[in-house]
Amino acid sequence: MAMNKKALQCAIALAGVSALALTACTGPSGGGGGSSAAASGPIAYGTTDKVTALDPAGSYDNGSFMVMNQIYSFLLNSKPGGADPVPDLAESASFTTPTEYTVKLKSGLKWANGHTLDSKDVKFSFDRQMKINDPAGPASLLSNVEGVTAPDANTVVFKLKLANDQTFAQILSSPAAPIVDDEVFPADKLLDDDSIVKAKAFYGQYTIDTYKKNELISFKAYPDYKGLLGKPANDAATIKYYADPTNMKLDIQQGNIDVANRSLSATDIDDLKKDSKVKVNVGPGGEIRYITFNFDTMPFGAKAAGADPAKALAVRQGVANLVDRQAIADQVYKGTYLPLYSNVPSGFLGANESFKDAYGDAGKPSLDKAKKVLADAGVTTPVTLNLQYNPDHYGKSSGDEYAMIKDQLEKSGLFKVNLQSTEWVTYSKASRADEYPLFQFGWFPDFSDADNYLTPFFPDGGFLKNHYNNPTVTDLISKQLTTVDKTERESTIKDAQNALAKDISTLPLLQGAQVAVSGSSVKGVDSTLDASFKFRLGTVSK
């Protein structure tokens, strides 16, 4: 292609100069409406979570659920500041028989696209969730649902397999339960995000205005929303997605976003606490970290050399007496995790500190107690422990956490710890295939109820498959699940925790806090950091 070289040179020079000139005139611009935004103006939220799908049947992760909480509603939901489910789309909801849970809907509800929202949509939402049963979806949470009927436009009846399921109200506000538009969503397959956005199939505090998946989402307040959460404190919001938490940290410091939530590193949060331009908001967290003991392969386990249940228990008790949770929480996690002294974390019905009562010295390690339990059982020390942790799934600080645990155990002289790490995919399979005698694991609840820290874990070895099975514990867990009386249920949950602390199937270590950083002029973040673990953009204003 022939071209005048002089013209080309001039064009390049001009482009360069123009670029420099334009750049010189432009500093970093604030997100979400800029720095001059008035109170209740647009809110810019940043996160490193990712959206899998906007279709509730196709995703089961924090990133997707956070967006769903802004654009869909539930039959039951929790008010900001609490975690107890109360009517949202429902007018009333209760057990009408031990196996029937009846919900009366509010009337006159309209989707953002003008379609009517009634019991047909509700039945459809649950039916399709169970029918699609997507491998990446939350249908497993509905395992107790036998069927759903809609006798009239405002009534929905859930037929349950297990009578008096005390977690069912929580299930109705869980990732399995957002209500979707039956005129938009297909009954037997997932709907892609763009089609959902295009069809405006929303009924929540917000509708989606612009959708660039895992890049940027902009929301507009939905004026016809009549649900539990009410009118949002801002008229619009954006979510900006990050890969690197450090970039998110810098953006919150520079005012380019108003809120940074999930997940800043402990070091970054510690650093931000010293920055006067931002505020670090801390709320209760449901995430827990723990060590699992494999009852077959741990030292003196059922299939290990010199198998002896009493000695195996003494080893577990020895470890429980020596671990200093507070030191890990303070030194490794800078207060973003708190010491956890029971299988049910604090903030949930019946949570106690059974491990604090049974081991150590009021939460501190006790070398004397550790020595005694091992000596009483006739265990020769030092005991060699092959302890596995994962360096890439539970955060970058796992290495430091487990190095500290190794140090705590070894300095007692009672244990020799071989610390090993494996990448996640291999780790998650090998840990449940009897390859690791002791291993790190973590948990984030499906819904806000103590049962979610018990039922998945302990009856018949639970999902951990660590060969732990105590019929007494199983009975207690089953009992609390169906006990209607709250006080009695609370007492049963405590009994279950006390029994678990005696056996030490798992050793609870840490409970995560929810940490969201906001600009100093931003309000309302602290009110949404509650035990429901739902971040609601509608509470935030500036």
Binding site: G31, Y60, P135, L216
Partner: protein, 363 residues
């Protein structure tokens, strides 16, 4: 295999001996052979990526391995078809690729082709910006180094070139970010544009995805400035990587040309050294740059992965890292195949250009 040749010198002074015209024999065969060599290259690469991705695990275990009992997990893996014999999956995949069906990403459920189009434009934009930086830095400094050869300035520039090439791009990126964004606050920390601009770009009727182009088309000068501000640091970080190569190449070629008889003749006539460099020696020295630019594409794309991750520049490189972490082999295969096609086609074009310039490479 691409052959890098020295460009023919400028005949500006009319001093060069006349050359026999090449018969051009074998050019068609040469081009055909080069073209068909792309196919086995692509096949080998697709195969390698397919099997390597299967080695690092499946996405269902990556996402849900910590929550589900092993039997439920196994059932889900079975339902997704990831436990079928590997060769069955492989041939199925080859069949899909042959028909242009790259599937749907596993972790965020979008058609791979759509994903490639969305993020490819961002990578293209970054690559263009980086090449501009490389040319603006590499060529003038290369000329200067040649002009001041064997003097202090030349030594400094040669050291600078080595530094550019040897410094890991993510390290350069972090240094730039730390200096200009964090300490000085002159430029944005990350991203392709501010939220406001992103929303404005998203509202355009038919956006190209190349932000500065979209901003120009819409006449939104504030958005253009914002996009430029965001583009500076990533472009510099990635551009300097190639600038070092350009600098040394221009310097070497210019010095080589300055030793030619026709330049000596000019010198003996009293033509100034500066004029010799800028009028006679630099043009022939620039021609290999075109060839080298083609060869640098792989380096540029490799650098783009790190640059995009450092600066949250949401292009193919950025996405590749995200998908790799999630073991989304469908997405990774799609991205790697596209990158490989770009490199293979670029090399093919370079080979053809080289063959057209110098008939010797055809034999």
């Amino acid at each position: 295999m691409t052959t890098l040749i020295e460009a023919p010198p400028s005949d500006a002074d009319g001093l060069l001996p006349s050359k026999k015209k090449s018969s051009g024999g074998g050019l068609g065969t040469y081009i055909l052979v080069r073209f068909f060599l792309i196919l086995p290259t692509m096949f080998i690469l697709v195969t390698m990526v397919f099997f390597l991705m299967r080695v690092i695990g499946d996405p269902i275990t990556a996402a849900q391995g910590g929550r589900l009992p092993p039997d439920v997990l196994a059932q889900r893996i079975h339902d997704a078809g990831y436990d079928r014999p590997i060769m069955v999956q492989y041939f199925e995949y080859l069949g899909q690729v042959a028909t242009g069906n790259f599937g749907t990403t596993i972790t965020d459920r979008r058609p791979v082709v759509e994903m490639l189009a969305t993020f490819g434009t961002a990578t293209l934009e970054l690559a263009i910006n980086a090449v501009i930086v490389a040319l603006l830095v590499g060529i003038p400094l290369g000329l200067l180094a040649a002009h001041r050869r064997d003097k202090a300035a030349d030594a400094v520039l040669r050291f600078f070139a080595i530094l550019c090439y040897a410094t890991p791009v993510f390290f350069a990126g972090l240094l730039l970010k730390l200096t200009f964004s964090v300490w000085l606050g002159w430029l944005p920390v990350a991203g392709r544009a501010s939220t406001r601009t992103e929303l404005a770009m998203g509202a355009l009727a038919a956006p190209t995805g190349v932000y500065w182009l979209d901003a120009l088309r819409s006449g939104n000068m504030a958005a253009l400035g914002d996009v430029m501000a965001h583009a500076v640091l990533p472009a510099v970080a990635l551009g300097l990587l190639t600038a070092g190569v350009f600098l040394r190449l221009v310097r070497t070629n210019v010095i080589g040309t300055l030793g030619k008889d026709y330049v000596e003749a000019g010198r003996s006539r009293g033509v100034s050294e500066f004029r010799l460099v800028t009028k006679h020696a630099y043009k022939p020295a620039l021609i290999p740059i075109i060839t080298v630019m083609g060869l640098q594409i792989a380096l540029l794309l490799g650098g783009a992965v790190l640059t995009e991750t450092t600066f949250e520049w949401k292009g193919l490189g950025y996405q590749l890292v995200q998908y790799l972490n999630a073991r989304d082999f469908v997405a990774v295969q799609g991205i790697v195949v596209l990158l490989a096609v770009i490199v293979a086609v670029t090399n093919f074009v370079v080979d053809v250009v080289a063959a057209l310039i110098d008939p010797r490479v055809r034999y």
